[in-house]
Symmetry: C2
Subunit: 198 residues, 2 copies
Amino acid sequence: MSKASQRKAQLHIDLIDAAEKRIAEHGITQLRARDLARDVGCSLGSIYNVFDDLHALIVHANARTLMAIDEVMAAAAANDDDGPRAVMINLAWTYFDFATNYNKPWRGLFDHVFPKNYDLPEWMYEGQLKLLNHIEKPLAELWPNATTEEISLISRTLFSAVHGVVELSLDDRTVGLPPESVRNQLEILITSFLDGNE
Amino acid sequence: MSKASQRKAQLHIDLIDAAEKRIAEHGITQLRARDLARDVGCSLGSIYNVFDDLHALIVHANARTLMAIDEVMAAAAANDDDGPRAVMINLAWTYFDFATNYNKPWRGLFDHVFPKNYDLPEWMYEGQLKLLNHIEKPLAELWPNATTEEISLISRTLFSAVHGVVELSLDDRTVGLPPESVRNQLEILITSFLDGNE
DNA sequence: AGTAAAAAGTGAACGATGTTCATATTTTTG
DNA sequence: CAAAAATATGAACATCGTTCACTTTTTACT
């Protein structure tokens, strides 16, 4: 690899690192181009030599968050000694824990508004589908006769529902659940859903 | 009322009207102080004579949206000939319809990020609690022995879950349900929840 | 009615921000 | 090693929300 593109690749990494750190500390709304340039020791203009705009940089930082969610969910799904129902509840609790403990990156992943018609890279959608896979697997165990299409719809429904419960509970300004009730309510929500569709 | 405070009150109304219109047409992210001043025919500075900042104006516009949601939900809840279970499903569908048909105001209500420690007026929380009341009523019919505390938790869970399903389904960039599946899945979600907790 | 005080209106100016671009520097190529 | 290509730079620009010194209007009082 040439010297120039090596530097460029390193700057690419450094900027994502810096963005990730700033998002984790101050939230995605406080991300500033000038701060990032100072953090990594480059000029303001250099950022735009590596990324089209700040949104492109945010996408990469968000991708890290998405991978981190995937990791904790993969770990939760691997713990399947107690059967698929326990896995489903475990996944929901794990998602809640992640949103709680890595709140600012998690919020950045869902809250940042991209410009109209801004195209997210394909691997961002693939990363989200990977999350669904963790849900689809135990669901397919529970309903061996369901079509993949049915499993896909149900997994999206459950993910969305759990996401909504977690999101509103962690938002001070909306009528979500008090945080101490979330685990119980998630268990009730999932259990009844699984029971009601056997 | 004095002449001066009459004008001020009128400007207050005009600005909220203008903000509401702009949010409905272009989304809350495109709201600009200068545009609003032009819309209502006042100077840029006059806005800050009536509102502390644009966030305060947005709160009032969002309050209108909240009231509009309350109205459609009240209408849906009034249609209770088929019993509380049908009301619950009807409420969810109504919420989905509102989010679809008044998408930009609805997104503005949940998407706009206020400054850290910005205090929303009490009546904004009260408006949200009014929404919950529509859910609590049929729930209380279904479980006459449940405490108000239990009903409150369950209503928040169901609202949050429905909100999550609706939110992600209407967001192109996340793994929500395809819009044509939302109604069915909402019905399944609610039905199974109500069945599983009889 | 007249006048002083208070309130409201005004828009230029400020500071912050994302982005661009002419220029300088570095790296690659032949 | 010199020309060309790539990269780096930061001043400058456009667009925001917000402020404030100043003007105009309204109110209060004699």
